[in-house]
């Protein structure tokens, strides 16, 4: 890992870990106030939703960098080596194009969200979309860098993860 890579990883961890902890306390606070105090907190649902966006998208960028997302390499693995390299290259190019496009759209959405505050806490929606902008920007750049670094060496077998049902 380069130093920049380490720094990005550290920032991602800090953001997503803080968001997840806050999410847990927010949901918990929602239950507890309902039984303990007379006035249940109304903001907890909204805040936990916003935090969840950050957890998911920052986490997704992190997972993409470490190649943890589920993919089906069954068909690609059946191809002869040269065709496989070509198909993998195509897949990566398409992925990068998609990621850049989504980054741009997320940015547009963020600009629009500035004038729309959330109902209870009055947090502008651009703060929500900021998570997607950062996430997809990072995914675009890291995928692009990897394309140059590895020159299309095919990754083998479906990656292991502990996330699906």
């Amino acid at each position: 890992m380069t130093r920049l890579n380490k720094l990005v990883h550290w920032i991602e961890l800090a953001i997503s870990m803080a968001a997840l902890s806050a999410l847990f306390f927010s949901v918990l606070w929602g239950v507890l106030t309902r039984y303990v105090t007379e006035k249940p907190a109304v903001w907890t649902t909204e805040l936990s939703g916003i935090l969840f966006t950050w957890v998911v998208f920052v986490g997704a960028a992190s997972a993409l960098r470490s190649n943890q997302h589920i993919s089906v390499t069954l068909i690609v693995d059946l191809l002869p080596s040269q065709a496989r390299q070509l198909v993998t290259l195509l897949a990566r190019a398409l992925t990068i194009a998609f990621l850049f496009l989504v980054t741009y759209l997320a940015y547009q959405m963020m600009l629009k969200g500035a004038s729309r505050p959330s109902p209870v806490m009055r947090i502008p929606f651009s703060f929500v979309y900021l998570a997607t902008v950062l996430s997809f920007a990072e995914m675009s750049v890291s995928s692009l860098l990897r394309l140059f670094a590895e020159k299309g060496t095919p990754t083998n077998s479906t990656s292991v993860n502990e996330g699906s049902i």
Partner: protein, 426 residues
């Protein structure tokens, strides 16, 4: 009907693009080509999912499972399971099945269960002379139980997508989960006799020792009871139950003096990773769902299916076959999200209870996780234990028969699923 997004979806998955991104590409292609809506709506749909309160249950139940592994709850559950079945032939194999069932009541992810048992239990089984392929097959197959026993991520997703009460689904999963456990323990017993597996202990554990093991696991065993009872009596929603489960597993870990400050980082890290992987697929599928609703695809498919047959039994057979087929090519979570909104209206139309149907769908798509070609549970287990896929499949054959047998049983005897929800909700 514009089929471009469907073609993009299948092609992108086939060339090895991560499933979540592939679904996203397909969804985005609709916005770009049709011009029905500005393309930013894609982002809005994608993000909207993370603001749904029911789905917040996912990170919380994932976190509960991770905390249990770090806080010594898992090892105490294992000791308890071993004290009960250790003296049987194939004792550790029975422990493997029983542990999935016990842990299933607290954590909700089969993949996490399979990974944990592959790391902890399979090496121990190998040390005592069990065939490693068989141990892997038992581990992967029994992890299916933890999906059906509440709380389960699959049930939460089905409830969310199909607009079905998650509380009812949780109750519905209890009896099928226990039946699955019994069926698998019988299978293991038969295999143990045939292959002359060794027991873990020479003689039955004495009752005082069992009592000791029970006390060790007692507090943790209260968590599932608390979750189900709390939801049933309206004390909290499934999501809030998730937060309570996290809180209690932390408290138990502290009481057992095993949970330390140094565990905070790995707990959060593992939870974030597992959550993000599932949620990216869900977010993208929601954006893709916009295309399906716009083109009225669920309604069209429902009409086509009902034209085929209005007999509930025939429909259930057809749907099960369809799910098995889809499960071969699309990963379980993704298939669940894409198909639930299509299938639920069809089955309710012919009078099938959507709660019962939920158990069928989730079980069916989870079984696809242990069978080729796209068995994520199989891949997880084999990657950790180092067993080759063909060896795994050969060892898993008896379990395939049992799983499909149970699928048939649970499909055609709705009472197993509906007994508890009907008993308590009516």
């Amino acid at each position: 009907m514009d089929l471009l997004p469907v073609i993009v979806l299948l092609a992108a998955i086939a060339i090895g693009i991560p499933v979540g991104l592939a679904i996203g590409m397909a969804g985005l292609s609709f916005f770009l080509v049709s011009g029905a809506m500005p393309a930013e709506i894609f982002i809005q749909r994608m993000v909207a999912v993370t603001h749904s309160f029911p789905l917040l249950a996912i990170p919380l139940f994932v976190m509960t499972g991770v905390i249990m592994n770090k806080s010594g709850i898992t090892s105490r559950m294992m000791a308890f399971a071993e004290a009960l079945t250790g003296h049987w032939r194939g004792g550790l194999a029975q422990v493997n099945v029983l542990l999935s069932t016990l842990l299933g009541g607290v954590a909700g992810s089969a993949n996490a269960d399979a990974a944990m048992q592959s790391k902890i239990l399979v090496p121990e089984m190998s040390r005592r002379g069990y065939d490693v392929a068989l141990s892997s097959a038992i581990t992967a197959s029994s992890s299916i139980i933890s999906v059906i026993i509440p709380p389960g991520i699959g049930l939460i997703l089905y409830g969310f997508m199909g607009d079905v009460s998650v509380g009812k689904l949780f109750l519905a999963g209890i009896i099928p989960g226990i039946l699955l456990c019994i069926a698998m323990m019988i299978t293991v017993a038969v295999l143990a006799r045939k292959t002359n597996m060794k027991p873990a202990f020479d003689k039955p554990t004495s009752w005082p020792v069992r009592w000791q093991a029970f006390k060790g696991a007692f507090l943790a065993l209260l968590i599932p009871v608390g979750i189900v009872a709390g939801i049933r009596f309206g004390f909290f929603t499934p999501t809030e139950a998730g937060a309570m489960a996290v809180l209690f597993s932390i408290v138990i870990g502290l009481l057992l003096r095993e949970l330390k400050l140094k565990h905070i980082r790995p707990i959060l890290e593992q939870t974030i990773q597992a959550t993000a992987i599932v949620m990216l697929v869900i977010c993208m599928a929601n954006a893709f769902g916009f295309y399906m609703t716009w083109e009225r695809i669920p309604a069209e498919i429902a009409k086509a299916m009902l034209a085929l047959s209005e007999n509930p039994i025939v429909l259930l057979i057809l749907i099960n076959l369809l799910l098995i087929l889809v499960g071969m090519f699309i990963e379980g979570t993704a298939a669940l999200i894409l198909l639930t909104p299509i299938l639920v209206p069809v089955v309710t139309e012919v009078g099938i209870d959507p709660v019962h149907f939920g158990i069928v769908v989730v079980l069916n798509l989870t079984i696809a996780g242990v069978t080729p070609p796209l068995g994520t549970l199989m891949f997880t287990t084999c990657a950790i234990t180092g067993v080759s896929i063909p060896a795994f499949i050969k060892a898993a054959l008896p379990f395939y028969i049992v799983l499909f047998g149970m699928l048939l049983l649970l499909t055609f005897v709705p009472e197993f699923s509906l007994f508890l929800p009907d008993l308590t909700f009516s």
